[in-house]
Amino acid sequence: MSAPDLAASGLAGHVRASLMLSRRWHTAEALFWVGAIAAAFLFPRQLLLMNEIAILALFALSLDLILGYAGIVSLGHAAFLGMGAYSAGLVALHIASDPLLGLFVGMAASGLLGLVTSPLVLKGNDLTRLMVTLGVGLLMLELANALSFITGGADGLQGIMMGKLFGHFEFDLFGRTAYAYSLGVLFVLFVLARRIVHSPFGLSLRAIRDNPLRATASGVPRNWRLAAVYTLSAAYAGAAGALLAQTTQFVSLDVLDFHRSADVMLVLIIGGAGYLYGGLIGSIAFKFLQDFISGFTPQYWQFWIGLFLVLFVLGGREMIHGGIKAVLARLRALKPGKRP
């Protein structure tokens, strides 16, 4: 074996070892998911809110895949949420009421839309990408409005009846099945996303994000990788849309509205992008914030959301998760023997 080969295999081994290390589950992560399950038993009256949180978390997770890992900015992510919601709703109305079938169709339809629109985000700079995604989002909204014989137009899809989950669990009024279903889907997709971002594929995405020129020069097929992750992210958003349609049994034009895209961006900004839990933590904070504000000013809560956006950006986006990281670093420093 010649010297460069040796060095290369040594490097590959090093990369493999570091990937394996990052793939290991941390205790705090296990605690997070145990907490999510425990919450269902601790607060049985808040299950509907918790269901919304789980769905928003999945939506934010899908944005994190492209924004946090591949550096693709998007102002039209609601297009995929809406595609998934309408597909799942239409499946339940016209074909079969099985939730998993609807979920699958919603993911597939959104993924396909993502694949078709991915060439649009490969070109240009951040600014053009923001405009193009915004344009695609608005296009989808106009399309859903115009095709009212399929989508019901402004009235939305009404009278969706969901079948039993796995043929056993009926969707009840209190949201018990709904929360378990949404949390389950979120968990499965999260584990998949976690595996993907800690794979060589995920590593190549981060290389593209940090230095596209150098990544291309090192032989990373930039366009294919970005198209792949964009499609994946679209499918994830479609899953969130499908869950939304199935658990609320209603789809309206609101799922495609611009404020959905802006909200999910705020969620990711609150929680921080690029470590997967950001969207999850952000969605909890966002929903509580929304619930709290709309408690005393239901009509004008948008004002406060706007104020939070402005303050977040002025104060630095890393405010919250930067703080958490600092606390974690302190805690880690307290017990010197156990550095991961």
Binding site: V73, L75, P119, L120, K123, G124, N125, D126, L127, T128, L130, M131, V132, L134, G135, V136, L138, L139, E142, L143, N145, A146, F258, A262, M265, L266, I269, Q299, Y300, W301, Q302, F303, I305, G306, L307, F308, L309, V310, F312, V313, L314, R317
Partner: protein
């Protein structure tokens, strides 16, 4: 002759869009700053005109300069206080920041003025239509075309012929070199931002009759401003002008001839143009 009427309506619409958006194109070109809240200034100008007319009985023509002055000073104040720290941040930060401002302005306006459409009473000599060589022309539309056309000419004269204009062009081309040559880029920018906001306010007041005015105005027309700016490019006055004309005529014709398609045509047009010419349709090719 319905087609000619559509053309004239479209031109009037495009003229208003140009006055609304030209400030945005200069701020984008000068500081590379994405101000999605530009429409909030336009809305503010519209409401200034409405309040002055309805509460204080001031004639329509006098409300136009008032709308300009009010929004220009608001723009100047905001540029000094909250916008300036944004220039160094990423596009994503700027977009989120200005969306936050949009949300705030929409909710605040809903709180103060209510969410209904605002209606104004135009003076008698601007009402109605007249026949010109067999073509029916709205008086108000003709007025708008003349006012905005004069503004566009004035702006392109300032841009091309004055010292201020040549400094501005130099700063847009390369802010660092311009600074090195002693051009006060920051002061230039503050002045341009204020003037651009003022023009947006003026456009908002002129457009009440053509575009409508309610608290969702900044969100509804955000995409239109962006189309004008991205398609027209930021390095000239004529680029955004022709882009606005194109958009105005295409939108009016589309909504008139194929009403069921709604704004679909416009959005599709924008996406296609952005993909084909990411730097704008009328952008100069960089050597």
């Amino acid at each position: 002759m319905a087609l000619l009427t559509i053309l004239i309506d479209g031109v009037a619409y495009g003229m208003v869009l140009f006055v609304l958006a030209c400030g945005l194109s200069v701020t984008l070109g000068l500081m590379n700053f994405v101000n999605l809240a530009h429409g909030a200034f336009a809305m503010a100008g519209g409401y200034v005109a409405v309040v002055l007319m309805q509460r204080f009985g001031i004639p329509f023509l006098w409300t136009l300069p008032a709308a300009f002055l009010a929004t220009a000073s608001a723009g100047w104040l905001l540029e000094r206080s909250v916008y300036r720290p944004m220039y160094a941040k990423s596009h994503l930060d700027q977009v989120m920041f200005s969306i936050g401002l949009v949300f705030m302005s929409v909710a605040a306006m809903k709180y103060v003025m209510g969410s209904q459409q605002q209606i104004i009473q135009l003076p008698g000599w601007l009402l109605g239509r007249f026949e010109f060589v067999g073509v029916s022309v709205g008086r108000y539309r003709l007025f708008v075309i003349m006012v905005c056309g004069a503004l566009a000419l004035g702006l392109s004269w300032i841009f091309a012929r004055t010292l201020f204009g040549s400094r501005l062009r130099a700063a847009v081309d390369d802010a660092r070199v311009a600074r090195g040559l002693g051009i006060p880029v920051n002061a230039l920018f503050a002045a341009t931002f204020a003037a651009g906001s003022g023009l947006a306010g003026l456009g908002g007041a002129l457009g009440i009759e053509l575009l409508g005015l309610d608290p969702t105005f900044p969100l509804k027309f955000m995409i239109y401003f962006l189309i004008v700016v991205t398609v027209g490019g930021t390095s000239t006055i004529s680029g955004p002008f022709f882009a606005a004309m194109l958009l105005g005529v295409a939108d009016v014709a589309g909504k008139y001839l194929i009403p069921q398609a709604g704004s679909f045509i416009i959005y599709a047009l924008m996406v296609v143009l952005l993909v084909l010419r990411p730097d704008g349709l009328f952008a100069r090719t960089k050597a």
